[in-house]
């Protein structure tokens, strides 16, 4: 006699892309529901579906370099703490990891970058927020002020993320979506979206000011802040051109700021 194991699933929708996760572990489902609160939907529709095998891996180092390769129509995603496969044609994949939220979080980020890259979008190391119906992105290296500017946001600003912005191309413009990918603030972004009005390159300084940025520097900054994992020439090329498309359509400026709330008087 064999015991039937119940298959459980939930759908995590980030950036308007629903991803179904199937598992047999109720504790893991509960953990994901908590981790992705606000992004779990009741939708039957899924653009990507993953079966998750919860199993301790021989190597379990989340700080190890991730390898993302494409062969025979399948993507392979490997890091010390997970192994995953995904076929864009069948829209299905499999993840092997232990029962932790970090591994699947990394897989989701990677899969979103791969899907977005084909559509002219990308994930970017930047905070983002909506104010007056417009989205503003704040990019910078660690310590430049992404967390600070997020923490200083006024009540009428809706925080999309303090760490990783979700950028999707729509027609002639770009839309920023909220993400559950958090930084130091550890606050999940609101699951809403708005057209991107500006990208600011952050710098802390003695006064609040906005300065123009040369197009070449703008493109380099966007490229430097994009999340990109794949060892795939075609995808590298499309991502490269996406950065240039972005700076040709979205104003990019340098925002030097004193870390207090007055900086938001300039962001409207």
């Amino acid at each position: 006699m064999t015991a039937e194991v119940e298959r459980l699933s939930l759908v995590i929708e980030i950036g308007g892309m629903p991803v179904r996760v199937n598992t047999t572990d109720p504790g893991f489902v509960a953990m994901l529901q908590d981790r992705y609160a606000g992004y779990v939907t009741e939708s039957d529709r899924a653009e990507v579906e993953f079966d998750v095998d919860l199993t301790p891996l021989a190597v379990s180092d989340p700080d190890a370099d991730v390898r993302v390769t494409h062969r025979s129509g399948r993507w392979s995603l490997v890091r010390g703490d997970f192994r995953a496969e995904w076929s864009p044609a069948s829209r299905t994949g499999r993840i092997r990891q232990s029962a932790n939220p970090y591994s699947i979080d990394a897989v989701l980020r990677i899969v979103h970058t791969l899907v977005l890259a084909r559509q002219g979008g990308f994930l970017m190391h930047s905070a983002s927020a909506i104010r007056n119906g417009k989205a503003f992105l704040f990019a910078g290296v660690s310590g430049a002020g992404k967390t600070t500017i997020s923490r200083l946001a006024p009540p009428d600003a809706t925080l999309l993320t303090d760490e990783i912005s979700y950028v999707r191309k729509l027609g002639d413009g770009y839309i920023a979506f909220g993400t559950p990918f958090t930084g130091e603030l550890a606050k999940i972004g609101e699951n809403v979206s708005a057209p991107i009005a500006a990208l600011y390159l952050l710098a802390k300084g003695p006064e609040n000011r906005i300065d123009p940025v040369a197009p070449g520097e703008a493109a380099r900054s966007v490229l430097a802040n994009m999340l990109f994992f794949a060892e795939d020439e075609e995808l590298v090329q499309s991502t490269f051109h996406s950065a240039f498309e972005f700076v040709s359509r979205v104003p990019v400026s340098r925002l030097t700021f004193v870390p207090d709330t007055r900086v938001w008087e300039m962001i409207r």
Binding site: P215, A219, R220, L223, A224, F228, V236, Q237, V247
Partner: protein
């Protein structure tokens, strides 16, 4: 002295923006910004025009530089760009196939 022919590596992505030529390696995503001379070599690298002709037509005419010195510098630069897999170099003409030009914006 044999002639040197240059061709753009089709495995890189290239874009010119506001006078700056930027190249990204498709292999490892390294980003390069070319200086003025490197940009001239990139733009002239059609696989058919030998380097000495590029130097005569595009470098000596634009910069006040002695021809032999310019040729030596250009050859050194071309080999450096080939080392980064931005250009391909050969002592024979190089057939062209989907060579990236760098879209001008």
């Amino acid at each position: 002295m044999s002639r040197l022919y240059l061709s753009r590596n089709p495995r890189v992505a290239a874009r010119s923006l506001d006078g700056e030529m930027m190249i990204m390696s498709g292999r490892d995503s390294t980003l390069f910004t070319l200086n003025k001379t490197a940009t001239i070599l990139w733009q002239a690298a059609d696989g058919a025009t030998p380097l000495d002709e590029i130097v005569d037509r595009r470098i000596c005419s634009e910069f006040e530089v002695e021809r032999n010195e310019a040729l030596l510098d250009a050859e050194s630069l071309a080999r450096e760009l080939a080392g980064h897999e931005i250009l391909q170099i050969s002592d024979e003409p190089i057939p062209q196939r989907n060579s990236p030009t760098g879209e001008i914006r």
